[in-house]
Amino acid sequence: MEMNNMNMSSQQDSAKSPSGLKILWRELVRDKLALVSLILLILIIVFVYGVSFIMDEKEIVKVDLFAIHEPPSEEFILGTDYGGRDVFGQLIIGTRNSLSIGFIVTLLSGMIGITFGLIAGFFGGHIDNVLMRILDFFQVLPFIMLVIVFVSIVPNYTILAFSLIFTAFSWMGIARLIRSKALQEKELDYVQASRTLGTSNFKIIFREVMPNISSLIIVTLTLNLASNIGLESGLSFLGFGFPESTPSLGTLLSYATNPQTLEHRWWIWVPAAVMILVLMLAVRNVGEALRRATDARQRRG
């Protein structure tokens, strides 16, 4: 009996509910650019995480004075930098770090922003007012400066610490967006009905309202991911990101500030630049396709 039920519900699942997923898939197939982006993205992610798993980070960041500025060769696929370190290894581990930071920041800031926005929008009135003023406060803080101060104070920071400090300053946009949607949603009859049926506010917020704005949430998070991937590179480029002992795309890029490197040693900075460009564009293309899929008027498929 139980088995039977399970079967039935899973059948129903595949037949009915993923109409949303199906629309998405159609949109992706129709938009070739997004499809290629998605495949490329998956390939890069799998490759980067797979290869970095078998790589020895210590070995890569070890300075080797006999192999300074080597051009691409059999031994070093992408040559070496001014410390004789393998650029290819740095590229892979740097990409992994950027991706990890992007994912963690997106997820954490998403969680905080969604909760904050839903609560502010759902309750409205004074609660909304107080919460939005707190949000305004966070928004006027000079983000880059605070991160730089943090980075100079904390001597040895990790990917997680880096992500947390970014999260603290990047949840406001999502919160605003979700709030505005929650304000609309809470006026609908099904929310009122849940109230008269004795459902607690907490349950209404997360079980009734949130599923109904899930498409907006998915799209926003995807588009945010694109910008969050570039966060770390930007700071490392300025010299406030990871130290040189931690490979980073931004560090590789910053070598290009040396005119000699910029002109004659392209293998140090071009791969990193291309990687950042490709990653951000790919995520954005997928995100745009998702966004179109959620709006029937903009759909292509």
Binding site: K16, D189, Q192, A193, T196, L197, G198, P211
Partner: protein, 310 residues
């Protein structure tokens, strides 16, 4: 004893203006409404759009803030939301006007109907499923449809799901806010008859909010006519339909369509007479702001908003 007593209910919405968002005035959506419903009866609340009938219903169930007045359920004061015990909120349920927006589009029928059960009763998965299937059968839907989503149903079927949800806890009072106005006429009759059936079966009391006099005549024992937040006339069905006293009620009653074509001329003339009377005596029946006067009893059950004479 009356199951629901409403005393001088006032629901005002503030109008905010200026830089400091101060309250400059109020919209008096409901302005001094009193009534009582006997157990097992159907009480009809009739009025044009914006007359405050829906707000009255939502105020009683606690969806609007009550500015003044009191609401008593079985003798217990439930005006303040905090005073409302779980048992009382369980006994008052609501059927919503719009069957399209009142069901969460992301939930299956099973979860929609089981929502009140999960909040008030501790049932096992199997018991809950059985109850949901029983309820679906009761409202005339196939028990197999528990795994469907609301969008797979027609308007009438959706409204039945809404009704099933409202009666799931076997409440004593159901506030039906224009339960059929979004449905087409053939389905209206189905849903209304069904509501009467379950009323007999479960001993329900209805507060029936509608703007359709024909439906009210069909459903209700007592009727109140509302206009601009105030009562215009209140009485039994016979009194309102056969001896309307207030000019506004007369006009409403005369507007009920008659399907017999041989009456067409007569009815047309009658309506014209009523319209003339309405135009002539408008100032007599409404005060300077166009609001109804307070109610004066003209018989034991019949109350009419007539101006003070002399």
């Amino acid at each position: 004893m009356a199951i629901l007593e409403v005393e001088d209910l006032k629901i005002y919405f503030p109008i905010k203006a200026g830089i400091f968002n101060r309250t400059v005035d109020h919209i008096k959506a409901v302005d001094g409404v009193s009534f009582a419903i006997e157990e097992g009866k159907t009480y009809g609340l009739v009025g044009e759009s914006g007359s405050g009938k829906t707000t009255t219903g939502r105020g009683i169930i606690g969806l609007e803030h009550i500015t003044a007045g009191s609401v008593k359920f079985n003798g217990k004061d439930i005006t303040n939301k905090k005073k409302k015990t779980k048992a009382i909120s369980r006994d008052i349920q609501m059927i919503f006007q719009d069957p399209y927006s009142s069901l969460n589009p992301r939930k299956r029928v099973r979860d929609i109907i089981a929502e009140p059960l999960r909040n008030y009763e501790n049932l096992t998965k199997q018991e809950e499923k059985k109850r949901v299937q029983e309820l679906l059968e009761l409202v005339g839907l196939s028990p197999e449809s528990i795994l469907k989503y609301p969008h797979e149903f027609s308007g009438g079927q959706r409204q039945r799901i809404g009704i099933a949800r409202a009666i799931a806890l076997k409440p004593k009072l159901i506030i039906a806010d224009e339960p059929v106005s979004a449905l087409d006429v053939s389905v209206q009759a189905q849903v209304l008859n069904f509501m009467q059936d379950i009323q007999k079966e479960l001993g329900l009391t209805y507060l029936f909010i509608s703007h359709d006099l024909g439906i009210v005549k069909h459903m209700c024992d007592d009727i109140a006519i509302m206009y601009k937040g105030r009562y215009v006339e209140q009485g039994t069905k016979e009194e309102i339909f056969n001896h309307p006293q207030h000019i506004y009620t007369k006009r409403l009653v005369s507007a009920i369509p008659d399907i017999d074509p041989s009456n067409r001329e007569k009815l047309f003339q009658f309506r014209q007479e009523v319209q003339e009377e309405y135009d002539e005596s408008y100032n007599e029946y409404f005060d300077s702001e166009g609001l109804a006067y307070s109610l004066k009893p003209i018989s034991e059950t019949h109350l009419v908003a007539l101006p003070e004479k002399g």
